[in-house]
Amino acid sequence: MPTGIANNDPEQARRFRELALPHLDAVYTLARYLLRDAADADDAVQECYLRALKHFHTYQGPAIKPWLFAILRNVCNAEYARRAHAPSTGADELPENAEQAPLWHEAEETPEAAMVKQHDVGTIRRLIAGIAEPFRETLVLREIENLSYREISDVAEVPVGTVMSRLARARAMLRSAWLAEQEKTK
């Protein structure tokens, strides 16, 4: 059976642990933003690590994080296909306090400070969750997972130019959502 190489080789398994496990939080973070559901993210991440171990002998380096992300992305796309007829509302994000006011808000601010008055994590997460795919994915890979354009292009299997235009769209959406949020809380 050609697929069992990594599983049967204790040295491979040990290397997989050392390389892949330190990125568990990063993989889980991406899963949360892609699927917008904690339980689905759990399942996707576990499936991702199983697949990654199974195909570990095909891993060529250098950076393992984008490689894991690419696998997770495939897992998540399968999950999307499964729930295709049940559109997500994003309602799983921050159930009770989704409308919570920002932690602090200044009535008067300089133009420079106008944008980010609220470092309220819950609000920002909710705004990100409201961005449509594939723009959300691009934004999260860049801003939260800190991948380079080249790495994002590898993970999402699109040219770098597409990464740039998607990122521009994503940030524009987030910016207007952000400004609207600001208006609402004034």
């Binding site: 290397r15 939080d25 980010v116 380079s148 990122l167």
Partner: protein, 250 residues
Amino acid sequence: MTCEEAEILLHALVDGELDAGHAREVEEHLSTCAKCAAAARDYREIRKAMADGGLRYAAPPELRRRIEASLPHAKAPTRRALLQGFAMGSAVSAIAATGLFAIVLRGDDEQRLQTAFVSAHLRSLQANHLTDVISTDQHTVKPWFNGRIDVAPPVVDLGSQGFALIGGRLDYIDGRPVGAVIYRRRQHVINLFVTQGAGTESRPATMESMQGYNIRRWTDRGLDYWAVSDLGREELANFGEKFEAAARAT
């Protein structure tokens, strides 16, 4: 430059992905266009707000446990457990030393790794940190690594070629114990870090610079090599070539 072009390119500017020529063009446009300048300012603010780490999630302990349990266990855990305990002390200082650079550098994995090696080099230059085993004899240094790390770094004598062997050290890079073989040329220290590579192939050397240090990196027969030094590029390349030739001859 038109606003349409700038609307896309200013993101690459904000992300530090633009080459110098294009960066200047975008900057020029931003200095004359208030609308694009406002957008760039907002995007920088958004980046800052998103980058502080608060938006990340931590994997639930139960998920971590399940995944760890699903992985096959390696044999002989006792020695490994011992090593991990041994390496923990240097991990703490490693984090302290790299923290400074983490702020000013982009976080690509490659970039991060390179930063970690340069930091390890800097750390090694602090008093009494350079060597764990001091010896100019390759036959003393090489066996010293046995049982301390999971690779056997080739240790070759390059003394007759102008690179004196000083000793070896156990370092800790990116969560893994790493062997360092230390050479000296005149007053310049060379740290040669040796780690298990991702495959068994060999890759030709690349030379990079970071914070005034040169880094020559190559892969040979499944081992990754990172030579870090304040030596000039030519001399470091010369060292690498001599080492590769001598290592292959062993």
